[in-house]
């Protein structure tokens, strides 16, 4: 994918610049690069899908915009991992984990080693965040389009930061949040930068009308929310082989998901609550919680919400303002979201 080449050359340039400050700084860039490869390049795909379906031909410009959103994604997950005190992602050490592990190997005690890991990750996330807007500076386009793209990126960061804050705050609040609060948080934290902004950016770069860009924002929002609810469902009912992560994690950390918010309003909550956030939850206890989440209707409610939001997304695609070529490209996006679930 062309985006990979753009990112490779971005990191090569950064490592060249970093040599002026010595090998330690080059190492940080190497670790950051390792944490930005191997993803599904989901956000660049959204940019490319909108851009090409709308007749865009400048593949390099499009790849730069896609790479910017990929770097934003890297920045957000690197900082999210700091906030969640996670030292690995998809089974391999993340930035914090790499820096913690080399410190441990060098004989530095655990709290100091972990703190070194989190410090390096904080700095690396700042660099990825800055790198995202830097990439947009290299896009060959009019001044107006570039300003529009930079504002979209800014909006995406603004929303993600707000969603991340709500995530932190909802987890600490004594009451379980409402389903709507969880949906608002998830939309802000992930849907905006993963779906809405990349689709809008691709369309903007292709010179689309504001009305179409607005429609893509709405489509992105609905798909993005559906995607997040599916993610919540998979976190409890998914199969570990398909998702690559344990289905005990969300329950053990007491994550405020749509499922939990829905269950908290039912009479079965008293039988579920003691296990939510139980750090040593056993597989048997998890089975009990899963059964209760079905019985109380929380699972059904979440699945109904997935259907509602995907239907709304499809309805946006049926509007006259959406060209047929774009419709054809975006319908499979909705399917992809659904297929993760069923």
């Amino acid at each position: 994918m062309r985006v990979d080449r753009v990112l490779a050359s971005f990191f090569a340039a950064a490592k060249r610049r970093a040599t002026a400050l010595g090998p330690r700084y080059v190492d940080l860039w190497t670790v950051l690069e390792r944490n930005s490869v191997g993803g599904k390049r989901f956000r660049p795909r959204m940019v490319v899908a909108a851009y090409e379906a709308l007749g865009g031909r400048d593949e390099e410009a499009c790849a730069l915009v896609g790479a910017a959103f990929e770097l934003l994604h890297t920045a957000l997950i690197v900082h999210d991992d700091v906030i969640d005190r996670d030292f690995s992602r998809r089974g391999i050490p993340n930035v914090s984990g790499s820096y913690r592990d080399t410190a441990t190997t060098a004989g530095i005690a655990s709290p100091a080693a972990e703190h070194r890991g989190m410090s390096a990750a904080l700095i690396a996330g700042d660099l990825a965040l800055t790198g995202a807007s830097r990439l947009l500076l290299d896009v060959s386009c009019t001044h107006e389009v570039r300003s529009g793209l930079l504002e979209l990126l800014d909006e995406a960061i603004f929303a993600s930061a707000g969603g991340e804050l709500l995530d932190v705050e909802l987890a600490l609040a004594p009451e379980v949040p409402t389903v709507q609060e969880v949906l608002d948080m998830e939309r802000a934290k992930t849907a905006v930068y993963s779906f809405e902004a990349p689709l809008m950016a691709g369309a903007m770069l292709a010179g689309a009308d504001p009305a179409l860009i607005d429609a893509l924002e709405e489509f992105g929002r609905e798909v993005g929310i559906a995607y997040q609810i599916v993610d919540d469902l998979l976190g409890v009912f998914g199969t570990e082989s398909a998702t690559g992560k344990t289905t005990l994690g969300d329950l053990r950390e007491g994550k405020r998901t749509v499922l939990i918010a829905a269950a908290a309003t039912t009479d079965d909550w008293f039988a579920i609550q003691p296990f939510i956030g139980k750090a040593d939850l056993t597989p048997d206890e998890a089975d009990h919680v899963r059964a209760k989440l079905e019985v109380c209707g929380a699972r059904a409610q979440a699945e109904r919400l997935v259907d509602e939001h995907t239907e709304r997304a499809l309805a946006v695609l049926d509007r006259d303002v959406v060209p047929a070529d774009l419709r054809v490209v975006l319908r499979p996006v909705v399917d992809t979201v659904l297929e993760r679930d069923r």
Copy 2:
């Protein structure tokens, strides 16, 4: 100062946008704003000094550029405090401190409350970092100038991040770094974004020649390094009433300063080392360390380095490429740096 009005309107707009995500997000912006006011507005002053001395007349554009560097400063200190696990700055709670304290008041136990504080500060720093480039988008100037300004900002972040990483790494390394390593770290961490980039940005906005912009980079570097060494001296030999911070702090945390790096190469180091990084260092022990730092020549070496770098800075101002008006404005900057010391 016009910069204050620009920042006030930036934060007002951000708070308006944040209401869409509810009062919690507005609170974060309020706390962030509180952490960005009350500073000396040092970086904006550098921008304005260069811009006006070179005949720039668009005060609003200049204030926007100044405000961008002030926000960058806010972002860097907010993240630096996370890395240093500091919960206050200048005696009042910083972002981490405010969020920790309200959590503690709400009955949340200490580790969770501290973690909430650091999470909020990480997010707030990301927002300030992004805000800096957003402000540059509103500057009324040519496309070339704006790209140049955005690249300067990017360079400043690149350098500061590298300096911050080196600071973390030098503190953890078993050996005391060399004086040159400390100077390189301090230049990258602070001098670039505090002196070099703001001066260059002001000149760039005023349409200065590349040769003059290069000279300002060199001037900024020399003044900035002198400033940092003075800071190291004040951290140990300053008076608490003048600096507003304890002169035990640097010694207690074992900060890798020019003084310490210089002392480590002398025969007196064996009598100093046991007290460096001693968390419960007493005032008497600190007096002993101060006396040793004088005897071994470390203080004299640091003061000599201040003189050398200020002389080099003044020599840059004497070059033909620097207009007389600018020379007149920048000489007092050098004096200000020195006056902190003597």
